[in-house]
Symmetry: C2
Subunit: 182 residues, 2 copies
């Protein structure tokens, strides 16, 4: 159902696609669609809870000795692996989201909530408040930049690797070093 | 007009306040209100263009030798100074914005646009694409965390100083150093 929706959104536009069409494309009834999703927007965000759970698990699994930013790095690797395994799903989804202002707004809200959840999880590990927020918000910044790079060069590189490169590059940028060519 | 609106939003809530009430509190007619603002939401975002101009000017004024993150630091100082000069305006505004989901969304969109504008300005200075985006997005992260800290302790410290402290702390966090107590 989700893949049928994504394909239609990408082909004919999010606004132009109806729940009935999605259901038909998936060989199901409209009623079945609405048993799974509150509306057609929901299809693009149903994975949010799973990603948040994944992030929280990655924080919990990080070694006790890992610093705030290393923990965030482990979270990024974990999320990056799942996205990479989804093939072109995340890329297609991102293209649909970025084409519609309403969806872009919702995506920004989701990402901000992720950062808050991550900061909370870091504080729960004993990281001081400001350091926890800084590490979490910065992790989000790295995610955004890495995703844009990965999505712009399909099939070129693994997403977890691009995330790692971006994090290393940010360390260079903050240390005032010339970033190494990626 | 803007101050009258902020006061009413803070006192009785954004949803509950009408344009007519704001105009009355400022000793003006409702028609005058709508000559200045498209709607009552606009009152909270009319400074957006001025802040963007300020950011662009700070980037243009940065010394040629300044690295990407140092340039972002100068932008933060410039924006921080203006916000500090506004006294409690920014704090009251932030409280109103954070109390209403629709306004929070618009604020996130505005901040994301700021990051894009800043990344563009850095690229125009010759900073490589990923480094420009990383520095800009990270500057935004620092801004968010610093603002929350500054807003939570009214009158305690100057906003440009809190911004500088947060940037220094982020450098520590990324270098894996224990952050110095703020």
């Amino acid at each position: 159902l989700a893949r049928a929706a994504l394909t239609l959104y990408a082909e004919q536009g999010f606004e132009q696609t109806t729940a009935a069409e999605i259901a038909r494309a998936a060989g199901l009834t409209e009623r079945t669609f609405f048993r799974h999703f509150a509306d057609k927007r929901e299809v693009l965000f149903y994975g949010t809870d799973a990603v948040r759970d994944l992030m929280m698990r990655a924080v919990a699994d990080a070694p006790r000795t890992a610093g705030a930013m290393d923990t965030v790095g482990l979270v990024l690797r974990s999320v990056g692996t799942v996205i990479q395994e989804g093939g072109d799903l995340a890329r297609v989804r991102a293209a649909v989201v970025s084409a519609t202002p309403e969806l872009r707004e919702r995506e920004l809200v989701k990402l901000a909530e992720f950062a808050e959840a991550m900061a909370g999880a870091l504080r729960a590990r004993g990281v001081a408040g400001p350091a926890a927020s800084l590490a979490a918000e910065t992790g989000l910044a790295v995610y955004k930049v890495a995703f844009a790079r990965w999505a712009s060069e399909p099939g070129q590189s693994e997403f977890p690797l691009v995330l790692q490169e971006c994090l290393a590059e940010l360390r260079d940028v903050l240390a005032g070093r010339q970033p190494s060519p990626a």
